[in-house]
């Protein structure tokens, strides 16, 4: 369970779909992304709320030329110059998804739901070509689950089993991403012994987590 940044992303295949947590930089797993850049996987599809901020984290992965497509709700921001440049040059594909549908499509994947009808986006360009159905007088659009090969998530504290708590609004997409990927790698500020987290306060139960990288033990060179 406890491992290093590099081992946490080892084995990522070219062409993988990778979920990246964070709302802007809050909750962005920067060190895991840096490890993925070192690992070298390319032709990736990234699922994230944004498409990178500044020059670090997701923006650095995009700048390294490893990403074929971004699935996100809000790529354009004041500091999204890396994505903006690639998009305008025609070097990256974009699928814009309303933020709630993005979260719910991941939730559906993690919860074993085959698809769901959402009222969000009905009658807009983002629902074009999708099945529409009226239920009890309201119109809905059929949305499909989004699952990934790998999720990179940042949480605040883990125990050695992989139970997670987050910090403030850095939680955002972390919990649903943990449920929706084949392999889930989580970087945390520190790790505690089993039993030290209040069971009533655990946000992501360990069943959803595969690899934990604790920044405190990495700093002390206790994980290789």
């Amino acid at each position: 369970m406890l491992t290093s940044y590099d081992d946490a992303v080892a084995g990522t295949a070219d062409g993988s779909t990778v979920m990246v947590g964070g709302f802007g930089m809050a909750g962005m797993p920067v060190e895991l992304i840096d490890a993925l850049i070192r690992q070298g996987a390319k032709d990736l599809t990234i699922v994230s709320n944004n498409a990178g901020n500044g020059d670090t984290g997701l923006a650095a992965l995009l700048a390294a030329g490893r990403v074929r497509k971004v699935v996100c709700s809000f790529p354009r921001q004041v500091d999204s110059w890396v994505f903006d440049g690639l998009y305008r040059a025609g070097e990256i594909e974009l699928e814009v998804v309303p933020q709630g549908n993005l979260a719910e499509r991941m939730r559906a994947a993690g919860a074993g739901i085959g698809a769901f009808y959402s009222p969000t986006g009905v009658g807009t360009p983002l629902a074009e070509g999708k099945e529409v159905r009226e239920i009890d007088g309201r119109t809905y659009v059929l949305e499909m689950p989004i699952r990934a090969d790998l999720a990179l998530v940042k949480a605040h504290v883990a125990d050695r089993l992989g139970n997670l708590v987050y910090r403030r609004t850095a939680r955002n997409f972390g919990p649903v991403m943990c449920t929706a990927a084949t392999t889930v790698a989580v970087q945390v500020d520190r790790v505690v012994e089993v039993g030290e987290l209040d069971p009533e306060s655990i946000v992501t139960p360990a069943i959803f987590v595969d690899r934990i990288v604790p920044a405190d033990l990495v700093a002390e060179e206790e994980v290789a």
Binding site: F23, G24, M25, A26, G27, N49, S73, F74, P75, R76, Q77, F83, D84, Y87, R88, L94, V96, V97, P98, Q99, G100, N101, L102, A103, E104, M106, R107, S118, P119, T120, G121, V122, G123, T124, P125, L126, Y166, R167, R168, T169, A170, R171, N172, F173, G174, P175, V176, V203
Partner: protein
Amino acid sequence: MSRDKHQIAAAIAHDIATAHPDGAFVNLGIGQPTLVADHLPEGSGVVLHTENGMLNMGPAAAEDQVNPDLTNAGKIPVTELPGCSYFDSAASFAMMRGGHLDVCVLGAFQVSQTGDLANWHNGAPDAIPAVGGAMDLAIGARSVWVMMTLLDKQGRPKIVPECTYPLTGVGCIERVYTDLGTFEIVPDGVVARDLAGTTHDELASLLAPVRLLRP
């Protein structure tokens, strides 16, 4: 005199507090709608929701309060109020779609006379599309209000017979607060009230063929 953005925000804050005397769960869209928070009366009981996963969000953080893990939907550092709670994105958007928010205030490029909203895409072919939570908010909150100037930079009305920009939501807007007045979307047309620096007749000819009604 037309209303400036602070006066529009004050009018919205007043109407929220009047319509919900026992408090309300409110989401303020990024940009000008965030000004509404500054005008809520003391003890209004309004709880602010932010789409990135928080209720009872406090004001913007002072320089010595900035925490990179605590931001609003516009990625501005904010603060906690007593009774605040945190939740993940799926729960945050369930609050919208599930009809749990009382009021949402959004900016707009255009609102149609039937309450269609266009606020996410300016229609330019080279624009980078970005929707964020706008479509979920537009159809989710029980009352969705717009705060905008009535005219665009070219002087064209933004309340229109039919939106020409790509839609955010269909028939979702109940009320539009502008510098020149407040507009209720009703089945027969658009009711104008609280006119500022203009007359009903002037507005009626400006907005035609939209059917402008008196309160």
